[in-house]
C-alpha cells in the first residue's frame, strides 16, 4: 500500500516535472545543463523507457544528485557500461564511456586513474572517425595519465618522455589542450626548458588563441631557450590584451630585456 503511494507520488512528480509536450528526454538535458539534476532524473524517467539516450541521461543525472551515494554511483556505472558495450549508435556508446570516465575521475571518494584512462580509451575507440568526441577523449586520456603521476616528479618526467608528440588531432582546440598539458606537466616535473620548448611550439602552432597566463608561460620558456623573437611576441601579446594587469610593469622589463639581447639570453632551467 505504502509502496503504491510512493509509486503514485513519483509518477505524479515525473509528470509535473515534464513540460507537457512529451519531449521528456530533451527537457532532461535542458535541466541538466541548468544544474537541476533532480528535475533531470524525473524528466529522463518520464521519457520512453527504451530510449537509450534517456537511459544515459538518467544515469548521468543520478550521479549528480546532491545526495548521490556509492549505490547511486555503482548503479550509474552499471548502466553506463551496459550502454557502452551495447550495439547502439557509435555516438551513444562514446558518450556512455565519456560519462563513465568522469564518474571514475570525480565521483569516487578517490579517483580511479586506471579505470578513468581505460574508459577514455574506449570512448576514443567508440567515437565515429573524425568526431570531436574522439579527440576530446584523447586529450582527457592524457590528462588522467598525467594526474596519476603527479605525486612523483621522477615518474612524471619518465611518463612525459613517453607522451606521443604528434597525436591524430584535427581541431585547434584539442591540439592546443593536448600540447598545453604537456607544457605544464613538463614544468611541474621541473624538466629543462629546452625539453619543454617543442611542446610550446606545438601549442603555439595549433591556431588556438592563447589566453592570459599562457602568454607569460610561453614567453618565459621562450626567453629561457633564447628564442627572443618568440618571447617578445608573447610579451607584446600579453601587454596588448591585458594592459591593466598588475604584471604589466614586470612584463615590460622582460620585453626590454629580450629586445636588447636579440636572442642572446642565456638558456637556463625553469
Amino acid at each position: 500500500m505504502r509502496l503504491g503511494l510512493v509509486g503514485v507520488a513519483a509518477a505524479a512528480g515525473a509528470v509535473l516535472a515534464m513540460p507537457p509536450d512529451g519531449r521528456g528526454a530533451e527537457h532532461g538535458w535542458e535541466a541538466l545543463r541548468e544544474l537541476r539534476p533532480e528535475t533531470a532524473v524525473q524528466r529522463f524517467a518520464a521519457a520512453a523507457r527504451d530510449e537509450p539516450w534517456a537511459r544515459l541521461g538518467r544515469a548521468l543525472a543520478q550521479v549528480h544528485l546532491p545526495r548521490a551515494g556509492p549505490r547511486d554511483v555503482a548503479a550509474a556505472v552499471r548502466e553506463l557500461e551496459s550502454i557502452g558495450r551495447s550495439d547502439g549508435p557509435a555516438e551513444l556508446r562514446a558518450a556512455a564511456w565519456m560519462a563513465l570516465a568522469r564518474v571514475e575521475e570525480v565521483h569516487r571518494p578517490a579517483p580511479d586513474w586506471a579505470a578513468a584512462a581505460a574508459a577514455w580509451a574506449r570512448a576514443r575507440e567508440a567515437a565515429p572517425p573524425g568526431h570531436l568526441w574522439g579527440e576530446l577523449a584523447t586529450v582527457r586520456e592524457l590528462q588522467v595519465r598525467l594526474a596519476a603521476g603527479l605525486g612523483a616528479p621522477a615518474e612524471l618526467a619518465a611518463m612525459w618522455d613517453r607522451i606521443d608528440p604528434e597525436p591524430p588531432l584535427e581541431r585547434a582546440a584539442t591540439r592546443f589542450a593536448y600540447h598545453w598539458l604537456r607544457v605544464k606537466a613538463g614544468l611541474w616535473a621541473e624538466l629543462p626548458a629546452e625539453r619543454i620548448w617543442p611542446a610550446v611550439e606545438a601549442a603555439l602552432a595549433s591556431d588556438w588563441p592563447l589566453e592570459y597566463d599562457q602568454w607569460l608561460t610561453a614567453g618565459e620558456l621562450a626567453r629561457r631557450v633564447g628564442a627572443a623573437a618568440a618571447a617578445a611576441r608573447c610579451y607584446r601579446a600579453f601587454l596588448a590584451e591585458y594592459p591593466t594587469d598588475e604584471r604589466v610593469g614586470l612584463v615590460r622589463l622582460r620585453l626590454a630585456e629580450v629586445e636588447a639581447t636579440g636572442g642572446a639570453a642565456a638558456p637556463s632551467a625553469p
Binding site: E30, Q143, L181, L187, L216, Y242, R254
Partner: protein
C-alpha cells in the same frame, strides 16, 4: 419601511464599495507608480551598500538610464549591510532573485556559478556606452582599473566572469592634520623611516595611538608590508612561470619544501609587519569599523587606517583637517628592509568594490546587461562615483578632487607572497589569532618576529594543508557542475541529432587545465603526499 431600509442599505453598501475601490486604487498607484505601469521592463537592482550618498548617486545614474531607455524602469533597493548575506541567499534559494545584484558578498563560488549569468562574450567587445570616450574601442573587459581577473568578478576555478565593479576602494591612512603639523618632521612622512619616527613621536609626545584600524583593514596593510619583502620569494613559488602566481602556488610550494619560515624573506616580512603593528591600538584585531572611526574623530588616534568608502563619513564628522597618506613602504635603499625589495609595488587591484552581476533567472537579461554597461561606462562611472565620493572602477575616468590621493598606483612590480592568503580561511583564522605576537609592545620587533615564525610555523603549515584539502574538494564539486553544463549541452544536442560543435569547447579546454592543475595537483600535494 422595508423599502426605506433597503434603500439605506444599498446606499451604505455602495459607499463601502466605493471606499474600498478608492483604497485599492490608491494602494495600487503607490505600489506601481505611473512610470512602472507604462514600463515594458521593470529591472530590480539590489545591493547591501546602504550608505545614503551611494544610494542617492545610484538613483541619479539609474534615472538617466531610464531616460535613455524609454519603457525600462529600474528600482533600487538597499538591503542593510548586516542582513545582506541572509537576504541574498533566501532570494536565490527561493528562485526569486532581483535582476541585478551584488556578486560575491555572502555567496560561495558555487552560488555565483549556479545563480549568476556569465558575462561571456559581451566583455570581449567594446562597451557601447563608451562611444565617443577614450575607451571607445577598448574591449569592455579591459576598461576596468586593475583588469577583471579577481574574485568576486572573475572566478578562476570556473574561468568565468560573473560581475563588473562599479567603484574601486584603496587603502589609505587618514591623518589628523593638526597632529601631523605639530609632530611630523619638517621633511614630511612620505618616506618609510620618517613615518616610523613620526609614529614613535606620536606615542611618546602626543600620548595618542598612532594608528587605529577600521575593522579588518589591518590585514590588508599587513599583507602590503609583508609582500614588499617577499617579491623574490614569489619567483620560487611560480612553477608555471606566470610572473605573479595566485596564492595557491606559495601554499603548495610551502608544503613541497620550496620555502619555509626559516627563510630570510618571510622573516624580514614578519619583522616589518611587527614594526608596523606595534603602532596600532590595543585589541585592533577585534575592533569594528565604527570603533576606529569613533577613536579617530575623538582625536584619540593620529591616523585611521581605512578605505575610500569611509571618506564621506570622516569628512562629515572630523572637526580637524584631514590629510590622506599612502602607507609608506621601504624602498630598495632602506637599510634594514631594502635588500629584499625588488622594486616599487603596484597596488593590488583586488580592491574592486560594489561588483554587480545578472541573475541567471532574470527575464530581462539583455536590459540588465545594458544597465551594467551603462554604470561602468567612462562618463557615467566617473559621474556617479564623484557624487558618492568613491573612486571610479573604470580606468582613466576623471576622479573627484577630494579623491586624488586615493588613486591606486598602477605603475610598478607585482607584490610578493602575502601573509594572509585569499580564500584560505584556516590560515586567516590562525594568523588573526596569533598576530598579537608581532604587535607586542616594549619588545624588540626582531625578537617578536622570530618568536612568531618559530611558534606559528608548524601550525601555519597544518592550516595551509587543510585549506588546500578543502580547495581540492571544492574543485571536485565545481568539476561536477561544469560536467553537467557541457554534457547537458553536447549529449543533449547529439540525442536530438543536432551538431553543436564548438559552442562549449572553449570552456571545455579551460576545464581540462583546471581539473588537472587546480584539482588533482592540489589534492596530490595536500592529501596523498601528506599521507606518505
Amino acid at each position: 419601511m422595508i423599502s426605506r431600509i433597503k434603500a439605506s442599505t444599498w446606499v451604505g453598501l455602495a459607499a463601502a464599495v466605493l471606499a474600498f475601490a478608492a483604497a485599492t486604487w490608491s494602494v495600487a498607484r503607490r505600489a506601481h507608480p505611473a512610470p512602472h505601469r507604462e514600463a515594458r521592463v521593470v529591472l530590480r537592482l539590489v545591493h547591501g551598500l546602504a550608505w545614503e550618498d551611494k544610494v542617492a548617486a545610484y538613483d541619479e545614474a539609474l534615472a538617466a538610464f531610464e531616460r535613455l531607455h524609454p519603457g525600462v524602469v529600474v528600482e533600487q533597493f538597499a538591503v542593510p549591510n548586516h542582513l545582506w548575506s541572509m537576504w541574498v541567499k533566501t532570494r536565490l534559494v527561493g528562485d526569486n532573485p532581483p535582476d541585478v545584484l551584488m556578486v560575491g558578498r555572502g555567496l560561495s563560488a558555487e552560488d555565483t556559478f549556479r545563480h549568476f549569468e556569465p558575462l561571456g562574450t559581451a566583455l570581449e567587445r567594446p562597451n557601447p556606452y563608451n562611444a565617443g570616450s577614450p575607451l571607445a574601442a577598448v574591449p569592455w573587459r579591459e576598461t576596468f582599473v586593475g583588469g577583471l581577473r579577481f574574485a568576486p568578478a572573475y572566478l578562476a576555478l570556473f574561468d568565468e566572469t560573473f560581475g563588473v565593479p562599479t567603484s574601486t576602494n584603496t587603502l589609505r591612512l587618514y591623518a589628523n592634520g593638526e597632529l601631523l603639523r605639530r609632530h611630523a618632521p619638517s621633511e614630511g612622512v612620505a618616506d618609510f623611516d620618517a613615518f616610523r619616527a613620526w609614529c614613535e613621536a606620536l606615542a611618546r609626545d602626543a600620548r595618542v595611538a598612532p594608528i587605529v584600524a577600521a575593522g579588518w583593514q589591518w590585514q590588508a596593510l599587513a599583507n602590503r608590508y609583508f609582500s614588499s619583502q617577499t617579491q623574490r620569494l614569489r619567483e620560487r613559488c611560480d612553477p608555471f612561470l606566470t610572473l605573479a602566481p595566485p596564492a595557491v602556488e606559495p601554499a603548495l610550494a610551502l608544503l613541497r619544501g620550496r620555502w619555509s619560515w626559516a627563510d630570510v624573506e618571510p622573516r624580514a616580512g614578519a619583522e616589518l609587519v611587527a614594526e608596523m603593528m606595534r603602532h596600532f591600538q590595543p585589541g585592533f584585531t577585534a575592533a569594528r569599523r565604527d570603533d576606529g572611526l569613533f577613536a579617530f574623530n575623538q582625536q584619540r588616534a593620529a591616523m585611521l587606517l581605512t578605505g575610500t568608502a569611509d571618506l564621506a563619513a570622516v569628512l562629515a564628522e572630523a572637526e580637524f583637517p584631514v590629510k590622506i597618506l599612502s602607507p609608506p613602504l621601504p624602498g630598495p635603499e632602506d637599510e634594514r628592509f631594502g635588500q629584499h625589495v625588488h622594486g616599487r609595488m603596484v597596488e593590488q587591484a583586488a580592491a574592486q568594490d560594489a561588483v554587480f552581476g545578472i541573475a541567471r533567472r532574470s527575464p530581462h537579461r539583455p536590459e540588465a546587461l545594458a544597465l551594467l554597461q551603462y554604470l561602468t561606462s567612462w562618463e557615467v562611472n566617473a559621474s556617479f562615483n564623484r557624487a558618492a565620493l568613491r573612486l571610479p572602477a573604470v580606468r582613466e575616468a576623471p576622479v573627484a578632487d577630494e579623491l586624488v590621493d586615493f588613486v591606486p598606483r598602477t605603475e610598478g612590480l607585482p607584490p610578493g607572497v602575502p601573509l594572509f592568503f585569499d580564500e584560505f580561511p584556516d590560515v586567516q583564522g590562525l594568523l588573526t589569532r596569533e598576530i598579537h605576537r608581532l604587535a607586542s609592545r616594549g619588545t624588540e620587533p626582531r625578537r617578536s618576529a622570530e618568536d612568531f615564525a618559530v611558534d606559528v610555523a608548524p601550525r601555519h603549515k597544518a592550516a595551509v594543508r587543510s585549506d588546500l584539502q578543502r580547495m581540492a574538494r571544492q574543485q571536485m564539486l565545481r568539476s561536477r557542475l561544469l560536467d553537467q553544463r557541457w554534457m547537458g549541452e553536447s549529449f543533449g544536442a547529439a540525442a536530438a541529432g543536432r551538431d553543436d560543435e564548438g559552442l562549449w569547447l572553449r570552456a571545455w579546454v579551460r576545464q581540462v587545465d583546471q581539473d588537472l592543475w587546480s584539482g588533482h595537483r592540489v589534492r596530490s600535494v595536500a592529501v596523498e603526499q601528506a599521507a606518505r
